[in-house]
Subunit: 289 residues, 2 copies
């Protein structure tokens, strides 16, 4: 792979509207592993510099997605390459480190799903918003246990369609609604379960726009609101809240009216006080209240 | 107009996804006036019976829309036709009664808008949801007074587009967002102003689905939430809450997945405790709290 190809892969991460934060973080690690394999370098210093430039670029691709920054930092911090090493050996260490983190990320997501499925139990109606691969894993674990889902379409691109399609293939009875109908259908849910793109230091949740109003209607109904994501998605306490990514206005599909500004912010922030429990690979953390 | 044509007009009211409750109520009165003019009748008893059958049919067209039932009831109650009258005179009374109510309805809407514009005042940023002709009238009154709008698209059919287009033509700076972004943009609003399809006896508001979560994010931000509609939209205390109309699932534009039920309920109910003030043609009524 040459530099142009790496740049193309980075642009793909930036433009991706389909994959969730965990999957994109693993893609970043794959790109890094590939770079460690093929990046031209006369010596270890050049290799390390080339990889660190790439890490910095990858870390900037999706500011709302904590696992990208966290897994890349873990890779960087765990990389112990001595200047006296052989180049081939150093490349191997960098590749192994990326691959180990990919495995750790996958395992963390799977463990989250296991804890969430245990918390929810059989015979439940769960409402969710947008598409989370972790929530999908939870559904996979519960699909033969009388699970029912209520799925919002999640404008503008409608990630809810993807989820509804999978659930249907698993014979999970699913109700599919517009985002605007969340207040009408919440009363039929036993719990709300969403993934996250990031969790802030105080437990506030960065997730697809619409999650915050969903958390409000959920609280009004006295229904639990669960957030399920691996700890790679947590930002450190005191870290600045992330920039909330904004995508192309064209995704809303309206004309270019002269006095109208079309906004397309992808993520909103749900305050920690609206979350009943956070579920990560280590287990369930209930709210302090 | 023959019976088939009347049935066609009734079907049009039922299928209308563009016009608001007030305008459809006036259309019902127009149909009634036309019927009073042309309905074949040998005598007054036949005329009255024919018109009452039509009134009953029209009243059933849109259960979520109180002004249709209210204006038709007012017409029926105000109709004083003596069995000894001449047929032509009776027809004239029925027509005049319908036309007088159309005028009263228009005046009530205009007076609502005047009160709302006075309450809001100049230089404000107003957020709204769906398309209300009363809210549009308020915007018309304030359009040269530094008004700014935040408009939600209002899925599935996107009535917000209509509103954004009008506002743009009036040079009102407008931000257009998906329904899911309401929680992100509410903090920029000085107030929320919505119309209503009905107001229940206790002040709860039946309006386009999405109004209830909007009211919740509004309260969280400590911003006033105003409902502006003429008193023809109020249901009487103790009256049953209306059936919330559901439209064709096809409007959501998704495939027919075997295990998925697509729901398309058009209206939700915002509890009275989330409303800061109700504005009707008589003035502003603040919440008791």
């Amino acid at each position: 792979m040459n530099l142009a190809e790496f740049n193309h892969k980075i642009a793909e991460i930036r433009a991706d509207r389909v994959r969730g934060a965990s999957e994109l973080a693993r893609r970043c690690l794959l790109i890094l592993a590939e770079a460690a394999r093929v990046l031209p370098a006369a010596n270890i210093v050049e290799l390390r510099e080339g990889l660190l430039v790439l890490v910095a670029e990858l870390a900037r691709t999706r500011p709302s997605m904590a696992p990208i920054q966290n897994l890349l930092r873990r890779w960087r911090e765990g990389l112990i390459i001595d200047d006296g090493m052989e180049l081939t050996g150093a490349r191997r260490i960098a590749i192994d480190q990326a691959e180990a983190l990919i495995v750790a990320s996958r395992r963390a997501v799977a463990d989250c799903a296991t804890h969430a499925a245990r918390l929810l139990g059989p015979g439940r109606t769960i409402m969710t918003h947008s598409f989370s691969s972790t929530v999908l894993d939870v559904c996979r674990l519960l699909k033969d246990e009388g699970l029912r889902l209520i799925v919002t379409e999640s404008r503008p691109l409608g990630e809810g369609r993807q989820l509804a399609e999978r659930l249907s293939a698993w014979n999970v009875p699913t109700v599919y609604i517009t985002d605007a109908q969340m207040g009408l259908f919440i009363a039929r849910a036993d719990a709300v379960l969403v993934g996250a793109d990031s969790v802030l230091g105080d437990g506030a949740v960065v997730n697809k726009a619409g999650t915050y109003p969903l958390a409000l209607v959920t609280r009004e109904q006295g229904i639990p609101f669960y957030v399920c994501c691996e700890s790679f998605k947590w930002r450190e306490a005191g870290e600045m809240p992330p920039e909330l990514e904004e995508m192309a206005p064209a995704e809303l599909g309206v004309p270019d009216w002269p006095c109208v500004t079309v906004r397309n912010v992808y993520f909103d922030i749900t305050p920690a006080r609206l979350v009943s429990a956070w579920i990560d690979e280590t287990g369930v953390r209930l709210t302090a209240e």
